[in-house]
């Protein structure tokens, strides 16, 4: 699995590093690199956010990042290098929360692998975001259930609503 790099980075020790992601996926075989960078934004659902805290179940999160990488490789069906890193701890506005990079021979597979990876990280990895607001309150974000029965219920709701994701994140 040397073509997949996964990391959880404690923000107290270092920020996420998109340059390191590009370095990792760069390869003479590949002419296309797609990246996704998620940053902490200032507003959510009409409230002003001062920062967010990320909580992760690290051993399982890393294992799931690897599974996502393997799934991307299998979906693409050709050579691909993938970098998946997520931040942990207390982040300020503008800090990087997640960095994904995918490299493949051509652009189409790179975009597809990158999209698959970020969507899977958001919906499947054991990561929780707590937002902090200007009024001093904090709230854990609504999320996606990993529970079998509830996943099925969410899929059903998605079919009925015709929404590709069934929810807003």
């Amino acid at each position: 699995m040397t073509d997949i790099h996964t990391a959880i980075v404690d923000i107290r020790s270092a920020p996420l590093d998109p340059a390191a992601a590009l370095d990792f996926v760069s390869d003479p075989r590949f002419g296309g690199i797609a990246t996704f960078i998620g940053r902490v934004r200032e507003h959510n659902l009409g409230r002003v956010v001062t920062g967010v805290s990320y909580d992760l179940f690290e051993p399982l999160a890393l294992r799931i990042f690897h599974e996502i990488g393997a799934r991307a490789q299998s979906e693409i069906g050709g050579p691909v290098k993938l970098y998946i890193a997520h931040a942990k701890g207390d982040l300020r506005i503008g800090d990087l929360a997640v960095v994904i990079a995918a490299a493949t021979p051509h652009r189409d597979e790179a975009f597809r692998a990158c999209r698959l990876a970020i969507e899977a990280v958001k919906h499947e990895a054991p990561i929780w975001k707590q937002e902090h607001y200007t009024d001093g309150h904090s709230a854990w974000s609504e999320g996606c259930s990993l529970c079998e029965e509830h996943k099925e219920a969410e899929l059903l709701a998605m079919k009925h609503s015709g929404d590709a994701h069934g929810h807003s994140h």
Binding site: H86, E124, P126, G143, L146, C147, E148, H150
Partner: protein
């Protein structure tokens, strides 16, 4: 047997230690642990919504454990509320 359930996300508010310990019959399934955790939280952390535990998954360090699975021999579990990474 004693199970130690590590808390994450919104469920961390249920116990400042970051985990709860429950007694369940040997070879219990995850469904039994889920019920025991709901019962425990109703008594000890009434501000936590029972629906949140219903929508949460249980896991070992290695995998998600669905309702029919048996508690691992080491009694170590994590409870994972709906996720919101990225």
């Amino acid at each position: 047997m004693k199970v130690r359930i590590t808390l994450f996300g919104a469920l961390r508010d249920a116990d400042a230690r970051g985990f709860v310990e429950l007694d369940v019959p040997d070879h219990s399934t995850i469904a039994t642990v889920r019920e025991a955790l709901q019962h425990h939280l109703r008594e000890h952390a009434p501000t936590i919504s029972v629906g949140l535990v219903q929508r949460s998954a249980f896991a070992s360090d290695d995998e998600i454990l669905h309702n029919h699975r048996v508690v691992p021999d080491n009694g170590e579990l994590a409870v994972l509320p709906p996720v919101s990474g990225g």
